[in-house]
């Protein structure tokens, strides 16, 4: 059983789905001959041919729109955004056309739009974004955000098989940073809409997703060692539809919740999670629902600034400590 990186796991998932289902094809900028800016689709064009691995013009709206049209006709397109920051160029297509197609017109649009997102990499304001909140507000789109290699693979497979449009967010800081042994021959499919308990605990729950799962786990470890606190970490994996039941189970167990995400605060996903807890588990709470997020500014380039703006392990430790003592 070989250790597989997050990136390699994603690649495997795509590869297996391409092998399994002839309706699956990939389109995006530099995905063919170059194998994608981060090499997620390296070797694909050789194996599957230019018909199924399409190098497109720099036209995100057309990439997503064409994927939608093909999906109506029974295909299973996987569209790559070279960096997820460029998904904003396809915002109209996704929110107006794709998201409403089933409800409005009874049209199935089983597309996957995926791309590298996230900071901690000195990418500056346009190569670091976390765009989930912009789409979270739109009924009709599903959003998944794997944190582990296993889920990188399992969620891409589930997203491709899903009959609705899925935005698949992959964190470039995790691409080569984390590894996991994945059994060969086992089919890994992570169900969409199910959170994962990343660490069990009883004093406090951290609800999070993406790269901050790892920072939360690091914080939990430190709090166990230094403070004797037992911190639970819930990795949402899917943001839309959200696994309310898993969140409430954890809240009922610990009665204290810290929500952590890398995206900026105002209008971020954490606000929605807090509202749901308030509505569904208020009676179990022993303290305010608190948030650790990025500051409300565009993500700056200089390491000193980026580190300040983004949530760090130390922030989670401090906030959790404060909340535990509440």
């Amino acid at each position: 059983m070989a250790d597989v990186t997050y990136l390699e796991a994603l690649r495997q998932g795509l590869w297996e789905e391409m092998e399994r289902d002839p309706r699956v094809f990939i389109l995006g900028e530099d995905v063919g001959a170059y194998g994608g800016a981060f090499k997620v689709t390296e070797g694909f064009v050789k194996k599957f041919g230019e018909q199924r691995v399409i190098d497109t013009p720099i036209s995100e709206a057309a990439i997503v729109g064409a994927a939608a049209g093909a999906a109506h006709m029974g295909m299973r397109p996987v569209a790559e955004m070279q960096f997820i920051d460029f998904i904003s160029c396809a915002y109209d297509m996704l929110t107006n056309y794709v998201a409403t197609a089933r409800y409005r017109a009874g049209l199935a649009t089983p597309i996957v739009v995926r791309g590298p997102c996230g900071g901690y990499v000195r990418g500056g304001p346009f190569h670091s974004q976390n765009p989930e909140a912009a789409f979270f507000h739109t009924p009709g789109l599903k959003i998944v955000y794997p944190a582990t290699a296993r889920d990188a693979k399992g969620l891409i497979k589930a997203s491709i098989r899903d009959d609705d449009p899925v935005i698949y967010l992959e964190h470039k800081w995790l691409y080569r940073r984390i590894k996991e042994a994945l059994p060969e021959g086992e089919e890994i499919v992570t169900p969409i809409g199910e959170a994962r308990l990343a660490r069990e605990g009883k004093d406090l729950s951290i609800v999070t997703y993406g790269a901050t799962v790892w920072k939360s786990l690091e914080a939990a470890e430190q709090l166990a060692k230094d403070d004797g606190l037992s911190v639970e970490v819930l990795d949402l994996r899917t943001l839309l539809p959200m696994d309310d039941a898993a969140i409430m189970r954890s809240v009922q167990k610990t009665s204290k919740v810290l929500i952590v995400h890398e995206d900026t605060r105002t209008g971020g996903v954490a606000g929605e999670i807090a509202a749901r807890i308030n509505e569904q588990a208020f009676a179990w709470l022993d303290g305010p629902i608190m948030r650790v997020t990025a500051h409300d500014v565009p993500l700056p380039y200089a390491p000193t600034l980026e580190d300040f703006v983004l949530p760090q392990t130390d922030d989670i430790v401090k906030a959790a400590r404060w909340l535990a003592a509440y």
Partner: protein, 351 residues
């Protein structure tokens, strides 16, 4: 009786209304661009420039020559450079030390460490840096040129777009908008054979980008992008035409991206012989030097003197800023709006 003696070798007249001093100045900008980028590459390898690094090696000629055709000085023409148009910013008067600070995210840099590479601006000097999203600067520059028109100012905007960038929606919308408003805008379309790894034939079905101009109802010209004086002349014509109120003009410059997309890219998809040919036979700086010397417009040793001066200038600028500090962390919070002046610091930072 007709004399059989060979006439004394006379240098041909300098084209395009330029003088010897202009030619020398253009050369200086070419050398400055290349030397500064070489320095940036060295700093990138030392991890002083963080993030990515994009070169314009082999394309410096068109960046410099197009900008040189503009009216420069406080509040004259304005251009918007892309990552491979560092040369155009230098021509507009961006000081090398500012560029070095910007690439190294220094506190004293023009964006105080917030933005990278050419993403900065000085509207008074006449440059407005791009954002990453390709095509976006076309509509923005249309608006700048629209303002020139509305105010009756004899000023011109110039904007660059890559062969790949012409595939964006914003390129189309912005160009069409500029055309129907008949604003004084010149569009430089850079055909450099690659958009990351994607060749032109996967980007568009016209042979020359200049053909696209037809669809917008404007003139389109193709020039040899590595012939510095030809690029200058074509741009000058378009700029003065725009200044006289005749609207948008598109100029396609044929050139070649000799490095990978950025420093991390080994360009394995680029035919080696093609790359060699452009390096050996069609380098814009080499060609320009040859032209100056063969026509006896400038002497070789004068150019050598410039090279030394440029190197000294870049050394001095680098030494002056390389050890400067990065911005203080909490300076990240100010300036999202004018009011409120700063974003709130998160509660747990005070614990």
């Amino acid at each position: 009786m007709v004399s059989r003696a060979a006439p004394a070798r006379q240098s041909p007249p300098i084209p395009a209304g330029l003088t010897r001093d202009h030619l020398v100045e253009i050369y200086r900008y070419l050398r400055l661009t290349r030397t500064l980028e070489e320095r940036l590459t060295a700093l990138y390898r030392q991890s002083k420039v963080i993030g990515g690094l994009f070169r314009s090696l082999g394309q410096e000629g068109e960046s410099v020559a197009t900008a040189y055709a503009l009216a420069r000085g406080p509040n004259q023409d304005i251009l918007s450079p892309l990552i491979r148009n560092l040369g155009s910013m230098l021509v507009m008067g961006a000081p090398p030390i500012e560029i070095l600070r910007q690439y190294m995210a220094k506190a004293e840099g023009p964006t105080r460490g917030r933005e990278l590479n050419v993403h900065f601006n000085d509207l008074e000097k006449g440059y407005l840096g791009q954002i990453s999203h390709l095509g976006d600067m076309i509509p923005v520059m249309a608006g700048i040129a629209l303002t020139f028109k509305l105010r009756g100012e004899p000023r011109v905007g110039l904007v660059y777009i890559g062969d790949g960038g012409t595939s964006t929606g914003t390129f189309h919308e912005g160009l069409n908008f500029a055309v129907v408003q008949k604003v004084p805008l010149v569009v430089i379309a850079e055909y450099n054979r690659w958009a990351y790894s994607t060749p032109p034939e996967k980007q568009f079905a016209v042979k020359d980008l200049a053909e696209k101009a037809k669809a917008y109802g404007i003139p389109g010209t193709t020039v040899d992008g590595n012939d510095v004086l030809a690029v200058y002349e074509a741009t000058k014509f378009a700029v003065e035409r725009a200044r006289r109120g005749h609207g948008v003009h598109l100029i396609e410059v044929k050139t070649y991206r000799r490095t990978g997309h950025a420093e991390h890219d080994d360009q394995h998809y680029v035919p080696k012989d093609e790359l060699d040919w452009w390096a050996k036979e069609n380098d814009p700086v080499d060609r320009y030097v040859k032209q100056l010397v063969q026509n006896a417009w400038v002497e070789d040793r004068d150019l050598k003197g410039i090279d030394e001066g440029v190197k000294a200038e870049i050394d001095e600028a680098t030494d002056a800023c390389v050890d400067e500090p990065l911005p203080p962390p909490d300076s990240a919070l100010d300036g999202v709006y004018i009011d409120p002046p700063a974003a709130p610091r998160h509660w747990y930072r005070g614990l």
